[in-house]
Amino acid sequence: MENAFEFIGVSKRLVKGERAASLRDLLSGSLGRLFGRARAVNPDAFWALKDLNLQVKAGEAIGIIGENGAGKTTLLKLIAGIMKPNEGELKVSGRVASLIELGAGFHPDLTGRENIFLCGSIMGMKTAEIKEAFTSIVSFAGIEEFLDTPVKRYSMGMFVRLGFSVAMHLDTDIMLIDEVLAVGDLNFQAKCRDALDRFKERGKTIVFVSHDLGSVLSLCSKVVWLSKGKIMEAGEPQKVVNAYIAHFEKTAEGSLRLRGDSAWSAGYNPENAVKEPRGLAVSRDGEVYAASMQGHCVAVFSPEGKLLKTIGAAGIGEGKLYSPAGVALSGNGVFVSDVSGACVQKFSLDGVYLGSFRGEFAEPFGLCAAGKGGLIVTDRKLHRVFEFSEEGKVIRSFGGRGSGSGEFNFPIAAVLDGKGFMYVSDLNNHRVQVFDTERNFLCSFGSFGSGPEEFNGPHDLAAIGNVLFVADHLNSRVKRYDISGVPKKAEFTGAFGFERSMLPCGMALGPDTEMYLSFGGTTLIGKYSGAAPA
């Protein structure tokens, strides 16, 4: 079959920041040369892509994955012809359309109708083609009633839907898609997927750049993993995605060695229900409850990583969630803390709204089940910890802002150990404090830093037997402590590190001591074995 495009030893150098933004820079540069000062190679220049070889056949759907700055967007821009390679050769055959930014061609003051024509012709459509596709574009975007409204009055959703709709009607051979599928509601996303599938069926080529590994797996027939401008691995999607995920789990200190469950991390999050997962909780039969800050819900997964259901509708009010941060299973209920809603809500395991724990919260964050139906809530804005009885009454609250013993600066999570002692991660004081059953201060451990016993923003906690786990957020690692020495001292026994861009925030242990971790700023939840105390 014919190649849609081919990279032959392609390298592209880019410059960080401004480049000779004014004549003065240019003049000082040339004067420097004039007076014999050798001009060093621009220190801000770097290879966004280096010696890239890649062949893609017409009709393939190829996924590009990699960390930020890996060169994914540069690759798309080269294919689109927006940039030219510094070295090597790039052959592209056919018409290329780039959905690098939806609605980039829209002008806010023009109406939807005018923008369809303008945007279509920017993307290379002929007026006659646009006229022919017009009805279809409008109905796909679902903006019939707003055709003659300036797009500046459109909601974000309408704006993006219209942009996508125009792009989907392009008669192109190669479609470049950069991280745009996560737009609109679930209904529209399904429509987009259908449209892309049809596009594929017509033998067109798709290049799909995304952090959303689930979408990559379901759409693409080939995946390329880029890192620092080079291809790390390319080929069969599942294989490449697994290698990509395994790459994040690479360093171990001490004796803690976690092993990622690749099926889980790869098959995570199938319908994009989880965006920015935070707090996690695992039920007795191993179902995983994940609070999705940006997905405005709690997503429930089977132990195999299939999405079972979501709890809560987006919004503020009874039964609605806006920024759910913590989740806990206590008694027969699911408790969810909502930072924006300033409340903790209780749902049945089936997701029926049961009531709210209002308390005096400002920004309730971490939740922890306590005994028979009780609940512990940390409020990161009031810097206090609240304890509730099963009936939803405040038994006690303690804390207050400060850096002394028993004071907090952003208490973000709490956990109880077998003896009933409470551990609170004190985020901005970079320490974990320990309290006895009467919540008298016992000890604290950790200080700011990246050394083995230091923290950089300790997040979630999990305890089992004499072992305490701390998600050391900005140090990209999970640390393990032996807490048999408490009330005097907790002893560091090991840490498991991740690639720097992976910041563990939520953490929970399942019935077989499998560990679940959620990663800040991503859609990723990982399942790990190896956390069981030796």
Binding site: G81, M83, A104
Partner: protein, 260 residues
């Protein structure tokens, strides 16, 4: 060159769309709408007529002074207006320049062409004014399309060069703002330009806008090209500017997305 012209031709509908957008947006949410295209030169004409009839006598030969000024301003606004909107046009559209591929020439070219609508209106008003000042219509008017074409070529060439210059060095816009004002006073816009100084006259001969405006006045008021040689020279300069603009623009276009 041939390739770049062909590509621009393929995207002619986009060029048309951008021109329509420019015109539509320029007068959107204004009360007078497109009447501003005529209102501005008329106001300036009144002011200059007042000033120059009261304080300094300007000899404009057979052409009544108000018509002299108005015709000069109409042509000059087409030139300066199209350039001042073209200079920042690539930078203002940076999101498109960095994200979508199409010949970037359409931006500066559409900025130039969109001023043509204003000029057409200003021209219509000029033609209406002629009988009131006792100027007869002549066959010389047929020269207008040719003269306008040469002007467009000159403006388009400069627009390509300056918009590109401004993308690489933002200083260009500031330099342009000063130069265009000086340039107007060094052109026969509001007074016929002639200097007793030989050197200055030679310098002025390098300014293609003088023969272009003079040719326009000749076509409207004197029944034809009164002075064809300078006009031919100016036309040569105009097309050389256009072609070198197109060539350079095409050559450096690939750098736009990363240097903007």
């Amino acid at each position: 060159m041939k390739k770049s012209l062909l590509e621009i031709w393929q995207y002619r509908e986009l060029l048309g769309g951008l021109v329509r957008k420019d015109v539509k947006l320029r007068y959107k949410q204004t009360l007078l709408g497109i009447a501003w295209a005529v209102f501005s030169p008329l106001t300036l004409t009144l002011i200059f007529t007042f000033v120059f009839s009261r304080f300094a006598a300007v000899k404009t030969g057979a052409i009544p002074y108000p018509l002299f000024v108005y015709s000069g301003l109409a042509v000059w606004s087409l030139f300066s207006g199209s350039l001042s909107s073209a200079v920042p046009v690539l930078v203002n559209n940076s999101s498109l320049v960095t994200k979508v591929y199409f010949p970037r020439e359409v931006f500066p070219l559409s900025a130039v062409f969109s001023k043509l609508i204003d000029f057409a209106l200003a021209l219509a008003v000029l033609l209406i004014m002629l009988p009131f000042f006792g100027v007869p219509f002549s066959a010389g008017l047929l020269w207008i399309p040719v003269i306008v074409l040469v002007q467009l070529a000159f403006a388009a060439g400069l627009a390509l060069l300056l918009s590109m210059g401004n993308l690489f060095f933002r200083d260009v816009k500031f330099i342009f703002d000063s130069v265009i004002t000086i340039w107007m006073f060094a052109t026969s816009v509001i007074y016929p330009i002639k200097s007793p100084n030989h050197l200055i006259n030679n310098l002025l001969a390098l300014n293609p806008m003088i023969p272009l405006i003079d040719a326009f006045r000749g076509a409207v008021f004197e029944g034809g090209l009164s002075n064809p040689v300078p006009f031919l020279l100016a036309s040569a300069i105009a097309f050389i500017t256009l072609f070198s603009g197109l060539a350079l623009f095409h050559k450096l276009e690939y750098l736009f997305a990363e240097r903007i």
